[in-house]
Symmetry: C2
Subunit: 340 residues, 2 copies
């Protein structure tokens, strides 16, 4: 089977987005009525999924998508901790309904109710709720809840350890994924996303996080940011910083997806990164929705790039399925329970 | 000939670095004596250059390096505008002496006395001094003088236009190059540098800078950050943002160097970026100084990667020499005056 590890509900019903607008308006002016999460019917969910993600799955021949709330709309920098919690719960509840309606096509990954400078209690509680009560298999962790001002401690800081303890206990990995940028220097999907990927990887090189948490796992999306292209730089910097080789120091715990939207990029990724560290992902329908004039195909139809690789069938199977089942053990258990 | 477009005086005499320490100590405590720039002999300069950059040039077979002050030591976020100006002048004067001592091996590129939030007058004046009085051929422009807090306007903002007007008038390009990071999220050479490269490119996509300045030119170092690896993403984002194709919109004015420290990265760079947009660079002796255990060669001996490419001799000549002479017309004039 083909598991897409990176999908967001970018097509969520308009009522859900309106709720967010009302929520932020209420935060700005508490004399307004406090809004409640949108009432959305199964039909409305079906309309937004079937002609979008589900149709693309069928067209492109993928089977199951790890599905999380829209990353750019997490907006951890907006409102406060309470606003972030209410919004995250509404987003995650909606994902749970998508998964309940299409259990063969989607598995849940949650948004965390992060907020700049806030303690992680609400984040840990919501992660636990999503995994234990809603059956989610992973989470998206924002290394920069400030939205482009980078005021949080690095991911290797002990600030994050209580969350990591819970992730390990629950056996769920995190995808490192920022949200929108409110810093005019950083275009969201064109700079902030990619920078965050690169930044997180270098933090892992500098730190000793996986000595403290040997079973903690992260997926760095968008093909690992700049990292594979600069693989020599990162190997060389690890040496200069007197870190162990990256294969031991980082790559037992860190994985890259295949959200790289051209053949040459995927070719590089597979040339320098071990197939055990690569998870198929497309982020459809996401950052880059158009058709590549050079190929006549969707930029984000990343399956085509993997199909075109001259690698072993066993390696392709790892990239398409095996690694996802290993990195997301709750997904594997869920699939096995279905006889898959 | 082989022109290395990216070299910094990372081995500057200790007295120069001591002056900087004294300067910052004096800024913190103005009751201390105000220091003056270090007195450095020609012999001291010779010692720091001949066994380092000059020896590497000979070993690796490059002829001339575009040489600028140490990027990580620019430290625009330290002190204030006056401190930045004094330090920049001392750094640039030292580069001018290196060039005077080894005119066949180095050409000068200046540090600019930027300072967070400061007007650009001092920057423009120092650029002009370096070009007109010291014979420099380019400059390094820091898009984030705050050192990792990204508080300046994007490079496409009109804030920068007076500098660009002078650059155009003087016919000098800028390398987009940040300095050290004081944000613990960003390792300097492992995250901040690469992020800045990626960020600048996306700013150029979003803006219309080269409509206003059709002859303005930037070199984005470190192989263009993440950009070539994500070339499909950037082509797709340009489409989504209704920008012209990148070949017209950005790539008449923007060039990438070859500071990518492994063969696979250079192979990708040359596969997706036109040879007219690639300038040979190594940044030796710089961010990654060690020997690659996989090859037994220095990571930053980037000439080997170019030599190994299966491309036309004419394209190699462009990468090694022709493009640098086109992008840096003052360098070309200088070489022609020598009959080169």
């Amino acid at each position: 089977m083909i598991i897409d590890c990176h999908g967001h509900y970018t097509t969520a019903p308009a009522a859900h987005t309106r709720f967010r607008d009302q929520q932020l308006a209420w935060f700005a002016d508490p004399t307004l009525a406090s809004p409640t999460a949108a009432v959305i019917s199964d039909d409305e969910i079906g309309e937004t999924i079937e002609k979008n993600q589900l149709e693309r799955q069928r067209q492109r021949g993928s089977d199951l998508t790890l599905f999380s709330p829209r990353a750019s709309a997490m907006g951890h920098h907006l409102g406060d901790q309470a606003v972030s919690l209410t919004w995250s719960r509404a987003c995650n509840d909606l994902i749970a309904r998508v998964v309940a309606l299409y259990p063969e096509n989607f598995a849940g990954v949650c948004q965390l109710p992060q907020s700049p400078g806030a303690p992680l209690d609400a984040t840990i509680a919501e992660l636990t709720r999503c995994v234990r009560d809603l059956g989610f298999v992973g989470c998206n962790l924002n290394p920069d809840p400030s939205g482009g001002h980078w005021t949080a401690p690095p991911l290797t800081d002990r600030y994050w350890y209580p969350l990591y303890e819970r992730m390990v206990e629950l056996e769920v990995p995190a995808m490192v994924h920022v949200s929108a940028s409110c810093n005019p220097n950083f275009h969201g999907t064109g700079a902030h996303y990619i920078n965050a990927d690169t930044t997180a990887f270098m933090q892992f090189i500098e730190g000793d996080l996986f000595r403290d948490f040997p079973t903690l796992r992260f997926v760095i999306p968008h093909g690992g940011g700049a990292v594979p292209y600069h693989w020599g730089r990162y190997r060389g910097l690890a040496d200069m910083l007197k870190r162990p080789p990256l294969t031991e120091h980082v790559m037992r715990n860190v994985f890259f997806d295949t959200c790289v939207y051209h053949q040459a990029g995927i070719d590089l990724l597979v040339r320098v990164i071990e197939p055990d560290n690569i998870l198929f992902g497309s982020e459809m329908i996401g950052a880059v929705r158009g058709i590549d004039r050079e190929t006549g195909q969707y930029f984000d139809d990343t399956r085509r790039y993997i199909d075109a690789l001259s690698i072993d069938a066993a390696d392709k199977q790892r990239i398409f399925e095996g690694n996802a089942r290993r990195v997301y053990p709750r997904l594997d258990a869920h699939l096995k329970a279905q006889g898959l």
